[in-house]
């Protein structure tokens, strides 16, 4: 099969581009330390979330010096915590979100940031992020989950260290 030499140049260029993309993503994973949501969050029975030790009482849990776990239940048309009362985390802390759903597949997007995952019934999605200065983030469901999907939203409050007190921690 005789290939035109321009074709060969383009083939080499295309392969270079592809290898470049894979290399960039690998750098992101290894160099910049970006981790994908995976199956380390384990499974949970979606029907009986209430008697799950953490999801039964969703909220912010202290996990260590300046480390927190936030357990969030995404259910049809609200985040718990998040919608009726904001998710509160202290400033300059490392927080791991554990997100699941008792009913249908929901989305969990912290608006305008790279924190983005899915809440799938029976699975627990865990994402760890570092919060910086005191601020507020929007929270929304970006996967269609029923007729009031567009009303499913919430808020994350990054509370200054000074105002952080034990009342906001569940455990």
């Amino acid at each position: 099969m005789e290939i035109h030499r321009y074709e060969k140049i383009w083939l080499a260029g295309a392969l270079l581009l592809i290898v470049g993309f894979i290399a960039t993503v690998s750098y992101g994973a290894v160099g910049a330390g970006i981790a994908m949501v995976d199956d380390e969050g384990g499974q949970v029975d979606p029907a009986s979330l209430d008697d799950h030790p953490k999801f039964g009482e969703p909220g912010t849990y202290q996990a260590g010096e300046n480390e927190y776990d936030v357990y969030v239940v995404a259910r049809q048309f609200l985040f718990e915590p998040g919608t009726s009362e904001p998710i509160r985390v202290p400033a300059h802390s490392t927080v791991t979100f554990h997100v699941t759903s008792p009913d249908v597949i929901h989305g969990f997007e912290v608006v305008g940031t790279n924190a983005n995952t899915m809440a799938i019934p029976g699975q627990v999605a865990t994402i760890t992020v570092e919060f910086g200065e005191p601020t507020e983030y929007g929270l929304l469901c970006h996967e269609y989950c029923g007729s009031a999907h567009h009303a499913m939203e919430g808020k994350i409050e990054v509370v200054p260290q000074s105002e952080w007190n034990e009342s906001m921690v569940v455990n």
């Binding site: 970006i34 009726s84 924190a115 269609y144 029923g146």
Partner: protein, 598 residues
């Protein structure tokens, strides 16, 4: 001068019927698209937000499945008949699969549209991806199953034609267009396995109540096993037109037949073992499987990049034969007033931009930035919405005269229509990409929230909404012009030479292609092997994690309006209550929701 309809009248009828169903679906889908765009941008809300999701499901199914695949079966029937130069083995089989596909489509569409009328206890507001545990009416799943079985029969019809042709031509190369049809159908058989298993073994019994629960991650993964190859299933008709028709429209010849065959073989091999790149941020799937899916996806860029070279080279050949000179000024020597040419050229140009935003989606961890935001519809309105749809509309201007023996009613309106589509898509898609970057979600009726406001990096959020609304208006007007032109052509009377339908020989002929390329069985085997490698472990880990039938009870979407109202009121009510009485709101709302649903 005899054209296709004179040589193959029966086949021409089937192709016309397929195009008719496709264009009806295009019209309805485009109308819903306009209503949706005006609704979500809050420019003009004529429907209730609950019904937005019904229209969105219909928009997705009618345009992405019905319009594209009905055009495909029509185009492939034309391509197989024309390139084998003989009638199909049995026209009754052809009408049979057309009938089955149409029946399935009507069933699914009725199930979806019934969602608009609360008094009809049927709805399928599950969007075109129908993720369990959201459950649609069984008619929806049965309709989709019939539709897909119909496409399987169509594939069998074309393989029978190939067998008959091979009987009489034992050692000649498979004609290029027929090769493209057969390889596309091989990819289709391999890929529809996933959705067939999901629908037949899980979703239909589940929606009929035969099984209680379903594993959402399993059915979701099985859907995306099929979900990515289906986008190549839409793309192959566009590639068939770009490879075999566009060079002729430009006044040139296809640059290389062997390379076209290599590209289609690469699609058979690589298009299915990549589905997990739609699930980069799903829990329950190990990062290793996601990385494999990303690597396969990145190499899946190769056939598309090769296509870019071959098609542009063929068009350049035409331009230079028409007197074009210089490095880039040959672009001016192309027949831009031919809507078939101009439409395909503009579609190809936009596909280059759509390809880039696809590369971003395919980058595993950068997907965090754009997953399920409006960036994704921005991407696929450029790829399936323009590269495929606009090429199909442009191809119609060249195909319809061959199928009916009638000249296109108005060439200038055709040219205006394709250009209006391009401009409308630039506005809508650019705005969608920018909105997606600062977090606006897709698939949402009212992306305006109380708890926070979106912050636009460039321009204001309001301006981006106007840009989306304006773009969608142009797109809708373009479809109206297209349908008018097609209907007027159909109503016209026959002329002797409606179109120049000859297709010249490629510059480097098929004899240059290694014979192994035509060995379809070999490529099928390798494709199945790659799919088994890519999917066995992830599926095994999902099944032993949460079981074959998982634990999710049903969540039918046959939702009455009152239920929605009191849930939202309940949630809002608690908001105010919370600030006053400090009652634990979450449980109150949860109880309300639970007892309402019982």
């Amino acid at each position: 001068m005899a054209t296709f309809v004179d040589k193959f009248p029966d086949e021409a009828k089937v192709v016309q019927a397929s195009f008719a169903v496709a264009f009806i679906a295009l019209g309805i889908g485009a109308l819903f698209g306009l209503i949706q765009a005006l609704h979500r941008t809050n420019v003009l809300r004529v429907i209730d937000s609950v019904d937005y999701y019904t229209l969105l499901t219909a928009h997705g199914v009618l345009l992405a499945l019905v319009f594209t695949i009905f055009f495909l079966v029509g185009l492939f029937t034309w391509a197989v008949t024309r390139s084998f130069g003989r009638a199909l083995p049995d026209i009754r089989l052809t009408w049979a699969w057309f009938g089955l596909m149409t029946t399935g489509t009507v069933l699914a569409t009725v199930a979806i549209v019934a969602g608009l009328f609360p008094q009809i206890p049927m709805s399928a507001d599950v969007l075109y991806t129908f993720y369990a545990p959201l459950q649609a009416h069984p008619i929806f799943y049965i309709g989709l199953a019939m539709f897909i079985i119909g496409t399987w029969m169509a594939g069998a019809d074309w393989f029978l034609a190939y067998r008959e042709w091979r009987g009489e031509n034992p050692d000649s190369r498979i004609p290029l267009q027929a090769f493209m049809v057969l390889t596309t159908m091989i990819m289709w058989y391999v890929s529809t396995l996933g959705v067939a298993v999901s629908v037949v073994f899980f979703l239909i019994p589940w929606s009929l109540g035969l099984i209680e629960t379903v594993n959402p991650l399993l059915t979701r993964t099985l859907f995306w096993y099929f979900g990515h190859p289906v986008v190549y299933f839409w793309l192959m008709p566009a590639y068939l037109l770009w490879y075999t028709v566009l060079p002729k429209l430009a006044g040139g010849r296809l640059f290389s037949d062997p390379l076209a065959r290599v590209v289609f073989v690469l699609f058979v091999l690589l298009s299915t073992p990549v589905g997990i790149h739609h699930q980069y941020v799903d829990p329950g799937i190990a990062e290793g499987f996601k990385f494999i899916a990303m690597t396969n996806t990145m190499f899946l860029l190769l056939p598309s990049l090769l296509t870019a070279f071959t098609v542009v080279a063929s068009v350049e050949h035409g331009a230079r034969q028409r007197g074009g000179e210089g490095y880039l000024s040959w672009l001016g020597a192309l027949p831009w007033r031919d809507p078939a040419f101009a439409g395909m050229a503009l579609a190809g140009l936009m596909f280059a931009a759509g390809g880039f935003s696809g590369m971003i989606n395919a980058g595993m961890n950068i997907n965090y930035l754009v997953h399920n935001t409006l960036w994704v519809p921005g991407h696929f309105h450029m790829t399936v919405g323009t590269a495929v749809a606009l090429t199909m509309m442009a191809g119609t201007y060249w195909l319809l005269p061959q199928l009916t023996g009638k000249a296109v009613y108005s060439r200038p309106i055709g040219l205006l229509q394709v250009i209006m589509w391009f401009i409308g898509m630039v506005f809508m898609s650019n705005a969608m990409h920018r909105a997606g970057l600062f977090g606006v979600p897709r698939r949402t009726a009212e992306p305006q929230y109380q708890n926070f406001d979106f912050v636009a990096a460039v321009g204001s959020v309001g301006e981006i909404r106007m840009q989306i609304a304006f773009g969608s208006l142009l797109l809708f007007l373009s479809v109206v012009l297209f349908l008018f032109n097609v209907a007027a052509t159909w109503a016209d009377d026959r002329v002797d030479t409606p179109v120049d339908d000859t297709i010249p020989e490629p510059l480097s002929p098929s004899s240059g292609a290694p014979l192994v390329l035509d060995n379809l069985a070999l490529w099928t085997g390798i494709a199945v092997l790659l799919v088994v490698l890519a999917y066995t472990l992830p599926l095994a880990s999902i099944v032993n994690d949460a079981g074959l039938l998982g634990g999710s009870p049903t969540f039918p979407v046959t939702v009455s309006l009152e239920w929605v109202v009191d849930v939202t009121v309940g949630a809002l009510g608690n908001l105010s209550l919370d600030s006053l009485a400090g009652v634990a709101p979450a449980d109150a709302v949860a109880d309300l929701v639970r007892e309402v649903r019982r």
